[in-house]
Amino acid sequence: MSLINEFTKGIIKENPLFRLVLGTCPSLAITTSVENGLGMGVAFTAVLIASNIAISTMRSIIPDNVRIPVYVVIIASFVTMIDQLMHAFTPALYTALGIFIPLIVVNCIILGRAEAFANKNPVIPSIFDALGMGVGFTLALVLVSACREVLGAGTFYGIPVLPESAPAILMILPPGGFITLGCLLGLMNKLQKKTA
């Protein structure tokens, strides 16, 4: 029961992007199309699960005062693996995400989960926590990128959805990222107040 709880909390109640406002850099930069958003979300989730498992397994042998550097090295190793895998198997996505794949290392969500959850809990709950956070972050990325792609390019996952018209190119340019995320955050706050 509590495992399901660990999983669902990351999706709505503690959604890393909308509720905790962590990991804003990639969620602004690569959300120009749903495909990129989804790709980033999956890569991110994979790193998060792997690092949560590793850190949770080693939590009793990592000395407390050097734990942050240890976490960073563990995370960086997994990011390197994902980086190489994506380079080999999804070259198009690799080019589209570019510098933001190595930058998963400094994504505060991963270090945050390591510090807040994985170093205090056993392996199985940590996996569910990582899954929930990963899915939550991926959904948030897809939502932001859907808004931007539909308004900015008139397509959804590459399929045209809007009738023939001039799309608002601004939405897929940098300002569109800021304004979409700002409005979505405001909307989330409003919705939460209503339910609370």
Binding site: V21, L22, T24, C25, P26, L28, A29, I68, P69, V72, V73, A76, S77, V79, T80, D83, Q84, I99, P102, L103, V105, V106, N107, C108, L111, L170, L173, P174, P175, G176, G177, F178, I179, L181, G182, C183, L185, G186, L187, N189, K190, K193
Partner: protein
């Protein structure tokens, strides 16, 4: 000379690290409420960014490339940055207590600032020489400080504005950033 000038203009204005490359958004949103704090953060980031740019370049050229271990780039760079931040903190504490007092609280945050790692990686990707690396890092640092200072100036005035409750804080800051980003888009015709 012209090459250097183009690097400077493009890094400070056209490809501003915060407003068009989306690096270092966390401090941009978090520490931009007061002008003095944003100056402090800008100073600390600039310092680390330039040092890290030089060091990571040296490691890439003299260590990773000769031994053909380029795939270790991410791990090597993040370790260098983390160690550098710690080292700068210690040196500052010992030799310049006033500076430490001003920048101290921002230093630990810089390790997870994607601007530092981002610029280090861009430096390598563009295959700059050492001189260009320094100019490029310095201009990005200036661009970061510029964006932060402009943002805090606007936010200090926003204090009195009547903002809908659910838009207060981060959401409205993002909308301001969007408007600033539109303004910076205007520079793209410069080169």
């Amino acid at each position: 000379m012209q090459e250097y000038f183009i690097i400077i203009i493009s890094a400070v204005l056209i490809n501003n690290i915060v407003l068009s490359q989306f690096l270092g958004i966390c401090p941009f949103l978090g520490v931009s409420k007061k002008l003095s704090a944003s100056l402090g953060m800008g100073g600390a980031v600039s310092f680390v960014l330039v040092l890290a740019g030089a060091l990571t370049w040296a490691v890439q050229v003299y260590l990773l490339n000769p031994f053909k271990i380029g795939y270790l780039q991410t791990i090597a760079f993040i370790l260098i940055i983390a160690a550098l931040v710690q080292f700068v903190e210690m040196v500052m504490k010992k030799y310049s207590p006033p500076l430490y007092k001003a920048l101290g609280i921002y230093l630990p945050l810089i390790t997870t600032n994607c601007a530092v790692l981002g610029v280090a990686i861009i430096n390598i990707q563009k295959e700059y020489t050492f001189g260009k690396v320094m100019v490029h890092s310095l201009s990005h640092a200036a661009g970061f400080t510029l964006a932060l200072v402009l943002m805090s100036g606007i936010r200090e005035r926003m204090e009195d504005a009547d903002i809908p409750e659910s838009m207060q804080g981060t959401p409205i800051a993002l909308v301001i950033a969007a408007l600033m980003s539109i303004a910076f888009l205007g520079f793209s015709g410069l080169i």
